[in-house]
Each structure stands twice: as structure tokens, then as C-alpha cells.
Symmetry: C2
Subunit: 420 residues, 2 copies
């Protein structure tokens, strides 16, 4: 019998790199001759399973109960004004299911029905307008996949390696397919003053979470969205309507959107003065730092996803993104940044959306200092923590997009560490 | 004050087409001066919402309880061997959330843990292999969005217009981002005989649901998948591992995949002889009709999504797909196929994935016979029901990809009808 794949270089490459595990699989296969899971008819093949009437809306199987959002109680005084984290260490691909997409609330997630929903556009407009939800459904829609990253993602890592897991260091991010109306369309419906340089957007919750957005961005790609991943937004993501501000910090993606005021100046609200500014080493704070710069994270192996198998083939995988456009390349280092290999992108990068990368490699128990480094289409290269601290100091909370290091030990366990 | 949009043709077009509704929105805005929803501080702005610790895994808000899978009890003798339907009439965009993605079982959905999972490759191979779930995680992965359509989708419509809603006529379809291993990689690992022209795939459930797949397809784009939309497959979709056979009928996407046998001939199993063949008018049955041809459906307006608003702007939207490649164009008719307008695609069509289309139009209460007609990159044009019957007769169940007609009445209600 001849192998059908003798002329396939990808297979030769995999097998040559994977001789030990190839043998491992064959040995295990032999050992499994007596494995009752393959020699006996299993209980699940002897009877009937669950019918199609059982779960009108399905949930994950009970074996996956660890793949959930988690909050860190000591991070904030109260879960009402707090954050939880997407379990990115356990996901693959790029889409984040709504059910495990991180939440950030300033006064808790409110329940607001479509019937009770109103959206006002006022300020420097010809005709102030109030839209019902049904009104919004009549405007031309767009559908796009975008990431939403909290400005504070990785914010606990400025002073050191603090949180042990990709979910906690990098899980304030999700990536969904949004359907909505370009904000431009609604502004044009109201007839906005061309001298107006800003819009102020606020939500219907008690915090109102108001933010000023330059008119240039408002007219570019901002969406007034009502669907995510095909279905209605979840309560915790702003049902029935939220703002989608591609590539910009999550705080501006106002949930339960109730008002858009066209203005000639920014409001300088609480959310853009006392918060969401970046304090430098000399005490000066930068404001209007809206864009989320290029960033990446290895999701597996990682502290919550250690290597549990033997030596041989290992898949290193993770996510990369940039608020300035598409990811063009991701490199991976196993030695803390001394040498780099270019990862394989699952598909060409898309603007302001998560990109999945893979490095198909071999691991024989050597310790690794694993790092990923993202590049975007503008030529920007994700900085090291040292480079970022040089410019920004250590007083910041927001916009930490430095290269992350996982120390993978010979037993496959991984830890969050810093390399100098 | 001058409008910022005077030079924007899209706005002029929308307003000129939407004069009545534009006025309608303005009138409603005026009427809403006394609307307590905008003049008073609402209860949801007076207190706190739910904290981030409330729902580790979120579900849709209670107002969306109608957006669920539904089964039709009279269709089958028992829900154990039956089907339910994706609520496509209520979704937008292209991604189908797993929770409301249709199910089809032949002996019910089984519960199979990763620890208990085994995948055997045997038959005409150098080395029969048995993989554990952990073994599979070590092979190079791919991530792709594909639609999965049951061959029987629209199957009740051969003899007439029977089921009143897009969910029931066209809801045996879903579209998810899958992560998995190319089947080719596993076949190469086992070393397959180049004379082998088929693989036979079967599931771990009692039905086993075995199907024969030509080796050419097996080596092309078939995936052994373990994630959908980023997270683990749901129980009802084959947790922990299913086959993904892009563009081909859903029955071949074997769930709870347990065995792949490399063979020199097809097995001619129950699932490819007594079922999943297409009986013509003369009684002869075609077999091996695997590919799902180009098809489309208007999801809104539709019987379950009638027009509830007044005259003026109307968004007509729906889905199109082809098992032979990318959708290149979708046309919409309001008069039962006499005249056609080209719809706007949300983004360029992707191979074997759902494409969302929109037609931004005006409706002033006239009756409509709404139809969509898909074209794919091969030049194939979706046929009328008459054209399909001419070739296929009326004895078929499977592969009904004819143009669907919704009769939209002056009150906005819609019905499933046939046009001659």
C-alpha cells in the first residue's frame, strides 16, 4: 500500500516535526486495542438521546461550565460598577459568543424593552428627532464584524505581572458581527450643522456614561447597532440599541443608547476627564486617547490552558487586533523576544476585527518564554512593556498594549511573568 | 444652518424615497413632546441594574423569548428522530448563534464527554489510528465560516405552499465559524491507499448516521471540527467533534464523529439509499446529490415578520447561499418575478457561507409578491418552482432550492403562496 500523501510537503513537515508524538499516537492506538471505549458498544449508542423539542434555546453542554465570564471581586468595590472577562483562553476562531462576551457596567445592566426605547438626536440640527425602535428598523442597515476592547484591558499589568491567566490579563475584549444603521444616516436625517465638530452620546442607564466623539469619526464608521452575531443584543450589551465605534475604546460604545447631541465642542464629561485618560510619569494626563493600538495575546498555551499532552506537536494559538486597521502579521517568540517565528493567520486580517493566529510547532519539554507580537497595516509594531513604560510611565490604567510573556515550564504549566 | 449632507446622493435618495415616512418621523417627534418616555426620568435611570457577577454565561433578554428554535410536531412521528428550525425571520447579519441553530437528529442528541471521545480511522490505511480528543488538539487547525443546510430544507413545499413562515420553509440552515482539523491531515497521518476513492463516516449515536464521501471531497475542504462560533460545539450539534462538509447536505456533517473508514467503494448505507435520494416524476431516484445549489430567502418582511409600520421606507432583507461557491448577486422582485431589482450585499459573498442582502425601498401599502433570486460565482441562477418541477417532478423531499414567494398584503401581513 502506498501513502497518498508522499508528495505532500505539508505532511512531511508535520511528521518530521512530530516524530515523537506520531509514535505516541501509534503507541496509544495500539494500547487502545483493549480500550473498552473502542471495543464495546457504548451506552450512548444503545439508546436514544434528547429530542428536538427539548431546548428551544440551547446552552453549552454541562462539561463546558468552566467556559464562562469571570469577575475579580477585589478589582472593584461593587459588581454593579465593575467588569468581567471573556474566557479567551478556552475559545478558538474569532467570533465571541454573546453569552461569554465580557461586560462592563457603570451602574449595572438595565432592562429596557423595545417598546420603551427612544433615541433622541438634538443640539446643532435642523430638526431634533426622537426615534422609536420601529423607526430605526426602517433605515438602511450594515453588517460588520468588529472587536470591542475595554480601554482598561491589561490595565493591571502596568506595575508588574499580576493576573495569572489570559482571561484576566486580556479578556476585556469581544468580537461580534454587528448589524445596525450608520450613525451618519441618522445625523443626516436630522440635518446637522456643518460647523458642528462633535457629538455627545449617552446611555439610558443611571450612569449615562456620556462620551464626546469627533464628528469625523461619527460620520465615518460608527454604527447604531441592534443585533450582534445575528440576534438581538443581550441585556448586558445594551439591549435594544448600542453604539459601535470600530477600533476605539469600549467605553465609547455606549449601551442602551438614548441621546446623541450634535455640538461644537466636547462635553468633557466625567467619563473623559476623571476617567479614560492616561497619566504619564510626570503626572500629566493625556486625554482623547480613543484608538486601541495593535495588540496580541497567546491564548493557548497560557496559565489557564497549560500543555497537558506529551512532547511533540504543539499548537500555539492566540488573537491579534488593531484599532487602526487590519492585522498584517503576528510573530511568536519562545525565548522572551530574542528570536521570532512568523505565525499563520487563520485568514487575512480584517479591519478592526480579531485575527486568529496559529503556530504549529514542536515542544519537547523545554521551558519557553512565549510572546506574540502583532503588526498592523499601518506598519505599527506592538511594543514591549519596557518600550511602553519608557513613554508612558507606570501610572496608567488604560491602553496597555504591550507584548505579554507566558513562562511555560517543563511540566507544561504556564505563568504570567515579565522579561527585562 | 446648512445641512452637512446636501452633497450626499445616498441621503437625497433616501429622503426622496422616504418623504412620507420622513414626515412621519417628524410628526411622531412632535407628538412625542408629551411622551413621558422622553419628558420624565425613567425608572431604569433612577436605580442600579444587574452586576457583572449575575450571569457567568448569558442568555437572551426575556423580551426575546420568541426567537427560538421551533419544531413542527406533525412533521415526524417522534421528536427523537426529527428536526427543528432556526428562527431566521428574526435574525439579521449572517452568523447563527449556536443556541438557536436548527437541530436534526436520527436517534436524539447524545451526551458524550471529551474524556470518553475516540475517533478511529481504519480501512485502506497504512496504520489504523485511534485519536483521543487531546490528540486532535495537536494537529494544525483551520477556521472558516460555512453554512450547514439540511437536504430537506424547503422539502414540504414541493407540492404547494404549506408552511407559513421563513423559519419553517427555510430554517433548516445555520451559518457558523468552525475551527477544526482538515480531514486530509488525519487521513495523511494514517497513510491512506491512493486507490481508495471513498471514506465512510459515522457518528457515535445509535443511528450512526453513516455516509459515504468521495475521497476528492474528503481531501479538499472537509473539517473535523470541535468549535463553532469560537466555543465548543453544543451537545445538539455533535459535541465534542463533528464533521463539516462545506456546501454539501447537512446529513453528511456527521455529529459525534467516531469513525472514518477509507474504502474503495461507497457503503450504500440506509442514509444514502432509502433516504437522501431524490425521486423524479418517473419514479427513478437520483442518488449522490450532495451539493446544495444556490438558494435565497427573504426573511423580512415574511409571514412571521410582517410590516408593522406605516407607508414609506421599508427594508427588505434576507439570506442567500450556494454550495458551489460564493454568491455573486441577489435580485428581488415585488411582482412575482415580472420585474427585478438588484439587492445590496452586506459584504462580498464568501464561499459556502451565508450572504446577507438588503433592498432599501419604499412601500405605500401596495400588495407585493416578494421573491429573491440568488446567483453564484459559477453563473448558476436559482430556479423558479415551475422550472424545478419540470425537471424533478413533485415526488422529491430534498434539494428544493426554488424561488420562494411571499404575498404581502396592504395591511403588511405576509403569506406563503405560489405564483404560476
Amino acid at each position: 500500500m502506498s501513502k497518498g500523501s508522499n508528495n505532500n510537503p505539508s505532511r512531511r513537515q508535520f511528521l518530521s516535526g512530530a516524530a515523537v508524538a506520531g509514535a505516541g499516537i501509534a503507541v496509544a492506538g495500539a494500547a487502545r486495542a483493549g480500550d473498552p471505549l473502542i471495543t464495546e458498544v457504548q451506552q450512548w449508542a444503545r439508546g436514544l438521546g434528547e429530542g428536538v423539542d427539548a431546548t428551544p434555546y440551547g446552552l453549552p453542554i454541562r462539561f463546558e461550565t468552566d467556559v464562562v465570564r469571570r469577575n475579580v471581586p477585589w478589582l472593584t468595590a461593587d459588581p454593579i460598577s465593575s467588569i468581567n472577562f471573556t474566557p479567551i483562553h478556552a475559545l478558538d476562531g474569532t467570533i465571541t459568543p454573546q453569552g461569554c462576551a465580557f461586560e462592563r457596567h457603570h451602574s449595572g445592566a438595565i432592562e429596557l424593552s423595545k417598546d420603551d426605547y427612544r433615541l433622541m438626536i438634538n443640539g446643532l440640527v435642523d430638526t431634533p428627532l426622537v426615534f422609536t425602535y420601529a423607526d430605526l428598523e426602517r433605515f438602511p442597515r450594515q453588517t460588520h464584524v468588529y472587536f470591542c476592547e475595554c480601554a482598561a484591558n491589561t490595565g493591571m499589568e502596568w506595575a508588574g505581572a499580576q493576573l495569572n491567566g489570559a482571561q484576566f490579563t486580556h479578556g476585556m475584549i469581544h468580537n461580534m458581527e454587528y448589524t445596525g444603521i450608520p450613525l451618519r444616516t441618522l445625523l443626516e436625517e436630522a440635518g446637522f450643522d456643518t460647523s458642528a465638530k462633535w457629538v455627545y452620546v449617552e446611555g439610558a442607564d443611571a450612569s449615562s456614561n456620556g462620551r464626546s466623539i469627533p464628528m469625523e469619526k461619527a460620520l465615518d464608521d460608527v454604527l447604531v447597532a441592534f443585533k450582534a452575531n445575528g440576534e438581538a443584543l443581550r441585556k448586558e450589551h445594551g439591549y435594544p440599541v448600542r453604539l459601535v465605534v470600530p477600533g476605539w475604546e469600549g467605553n465609547m460604545w455606549v449601551k442602551w443608547l438614548r441621546r446623541i447631541e450634535v455640538a461644537d465642542a466636547p462635553v468633557e464629561s466625567r467619563e473623559e476627564t476623571s476617567k479614560y485618560t492616561d497619566t504619564l510619569a510626570n503626572g500629566v494626563s493625556r486625554k482623547w486617547t480613543w484608538v486601541m493600538d495593535a495588540k496580541s495575546i497567546i491564548t493557548s498555551p497560557s496559565p489557564q490552558a497549560p500543555i497537558r499532552h506529551g512532547h511533540g506537536p504543539l499548537v500555539i494559538t492566540g488573537l491579534a487586533w488593531s484599532g487602526r486597521g487590519a492585522i498584517s502579521r503576528v510573530d511568536i517568540s519562545k525565548d522572551g523576544g530574542k528570536t521570532w517565528e512568523t505565525a499563520r493567520l487563520a485568514k487575512p486580517g480584517e479591519k478592526m476585527a480579531l485575527t486568529r493566529f496559529y503556530l504549529d510547532t514542536t515542544w519537547n519539554g523545554e521551558e519557553m518564554l512565549l510572546q506574540a507580537r502583532a503588526m498592523d497595516e499601518t506598519g505599527y509594531v506592538q511594543p514591549t512593556k519596557a518600550q511602553l513604560r519608557e513613554v508612558r510611565g507606570e501610572n496608567s490604567i488604560y491602553h496597555n498594549n504591550c507584548i505579554q510573556t507566558w513562562w511555560v515550564q517543563s511540566n507544561g504549566e504556564a505563568e504570567n511573568v515579565e522579561v527585562s
